[in-house]
Symmetry: C2
Subunit: 339 residues, 2 copies
DNA sequence: GTGAAAGCGCTAACAT
DNA sequence: ATGTTAGCGCTTTCAC
């Protein structure tokens, strides 16, 4: 057909070519290349030499078809533009590459249906998946986990391995910080209701406030996006409260912008504390006091868990692991003493 | 509908199951599902109904093995943590999903070798690739383009389709802006030398400055990362210049932080103009005057080009397309009149 | 329009 | 330790 004179685009090299060249059976080549040790050292050397000489590149599709293992892991995030996921993506990418896996990035657009559909559709071409912000119900998640190896981040469901960033514990630190600055009325600026951490953070704030004998109220819910910060800011101003803890930094940064527009001073009039410590929290204006989360580490750990799940093939479903990662308060300019 | 408890992890449904159920040959099922129109309307309906009933999910590996098409496209970025790529990733993701492709995200860690190695290794499991920041030589790129369909972003090489964000043209606007504010000595804060746009931006600045009869000098090169902003800021201060244009916003934001630490006023003492208008440019302090680039659009366009390349199978290598996307200056707080 | 048959490249039992 | 033999699930000639 397209036999170019230079013989470009030639038929790709296969293990059969290597077998022919070295005089062994294709299966031996396969073994030598994929499970060294189960083959004579000398022949293995020859095979590897031949492979190098022919510039052999294994066909992952064929390998996947017969072995069932695809060598790719999906990472699902709810909105790729949320800088929170940078850290996750970076962490998973690192570990996956080190382990020889490819990373398939999927944006679920904050939709549980899309999430489930994608996972179901791709389940045969994945070795596993990491759900960085699942919007699925507990039931749906547990069901999916039987179809495909799963690790969730910030989502605690029976029967599903998970990495939890313990922001709720950090909330305690934040409350203490604010109370010691004289604040007696704390607002929680709520994120999406479908978000599991959102609820956990609010509960943590409430019980922590109760312990300190201060008032805790709630505003929202708001989408966890910067533009929603305007509405959130206005809502908080209406409450007359002097301090708030915001679902995440993205929303908090949006609030900062709006408050500045309105001439509300931060922290003079209102103190603001965010969650996560994302890219931007340290250079926005004023810089943001926030709960620093080990995001990248969460990504790395989630991959480790998933990989060990793949190799160990633990038959016991109940042998579920849940790793909890601590957070800590990073005080910057957006929080201060009550006026 | 849902699988029975006993029938967990059952053998996945294949076209053979559908064939058996509908009483046609597997090949007919294959045709009906992948190229409708080449099959009788009635039988096709039956097949589709059966597929739905059995909850059939095609095996992409097997499909890829026999057809050669994998349905996945790689997007290579030089550093996943650079917010510039958010837009790219988002843009490509959108279009790819719409076209039914999966997106494989690869971080090349700013290394040309890694980039080439990855592409070579995965070339059989990809239908094509988008290089958002290639560090490869022109020769290497042209060579790779014969192995696998390629579209580059911000990289102009013969024989390779590309999307160019015309920041150099925008540089002209930035220079006019600065000159009209009274600046007569402009510094270009250089990014990585291996970056193609870096050179293009410097040349644009130089010729534009010449046209206006003002001085143009160069500082750096610096890695395009926020921490490098400190060194860059110090270097610029040393030049005694009153204004600079910075390779990208990430570096510019880093400079802002350092200048603030040092008590250098922006724009009072130095005006700063960035490039790209990334996440953060509008809420850093002071907010950053920058060349706004249609990043997400670049991602979308690159996918369109790649897909048409795949379908059209243009036999003429010379029929290369290069789409140029305009940029514009967005004036914010970091640039002002000379003191 | 549909069926039969031959692989795609590799791995995984079984033999030896 | 190595060779033999079947497939994995699908697409794709080539007949009919």
């Amino acid at each position: 057909m397209e036999e170019l004179p230079s013989a470009k685009r030639a038929r790709p090299v296969t293990i059969n070519d290597i077998a022919a060249l070295t005089g062994v059976a294709p299966s031996t080549v396969s073994r030598a290349l994929s499970k060294p040790g189960r083959v004579n050292h000398a022949t293995r050397e020859r095979i590897e030499a031949a492979a190098r000489e022919l510039n052999y590149v294994p066909n992952t599709q064929a390998r996947a078809l017969s072995s069932g293992r695809t060598g790719t892991i999906a990472v699902l995030v709810s909105a790729i533009t949320n800088p929170f996921y940078f850290g996750i993506i970076r962490g998973t990418q690192q570990q996956l590459k080190a382990a020889g896996y490819a990373q398939l990035l999927i944006d679920t657009e904050d939709s549980g249906e899309l999430e489930a559909a994608m996972l179901h559709k791709m389940r045969r071409s994945l070795d596993g998946a990491i759900l960085a912000a699942s919007r699925l119900s507990d039931r749906a998640l547990a069901a999916l986990a039987t179809e495909i190896p799963l690790v969730t981040i910030n989502r605690n469901v029976r029967g599903v391995q998970s990495v939890i960033i313990d922001t709720p514990a950090g909330i305690g630190q934040a409350v203490e910080h604010l109370v010691s600055l004289g604040h007696r009325d704390l607002i929680y600026v709520s994120g999406p209701q479908s978000s599991w951490p959102n609820e956990a953070r609010w509960q943590a704030l409430r019980s922590s406030a109760a312990r300190h004998g201060v008032q805790a109220r709630r505003a929202g819910p708001f989408p966890a996006e910067r533009p929603s910060g305007s509405a959130a800011a206005d809502a908080v101003v209406n409450t007359k409260a002097t301090a708030c803890i915001v679902f995440n930094d993205l929303l908090a940064i949006g609030m900062l912008t709006r408050l500045r527009e309105r001439g509300v001073r931060v922290p003079g009039d209102i103190s603001i504390v965010g969650c996560d410590d994302i890219f931007g929290a340290d250079f926005c204006h004023p810089t943001l006091t926030t709960l620093t989360a080990p995001i990248e580490q969460a990504g790395r750990v989630s991959v480790s868990m998933l990989l060990s799940l793949l190799t160990d093939r633990l038959p016991d479903q109940n042998q579920r692991r849940c790793v909890v990662l601590p957070t800590h308060l990073t005080v910057r300019e957006s929080s201060g003493p009550i006026a």
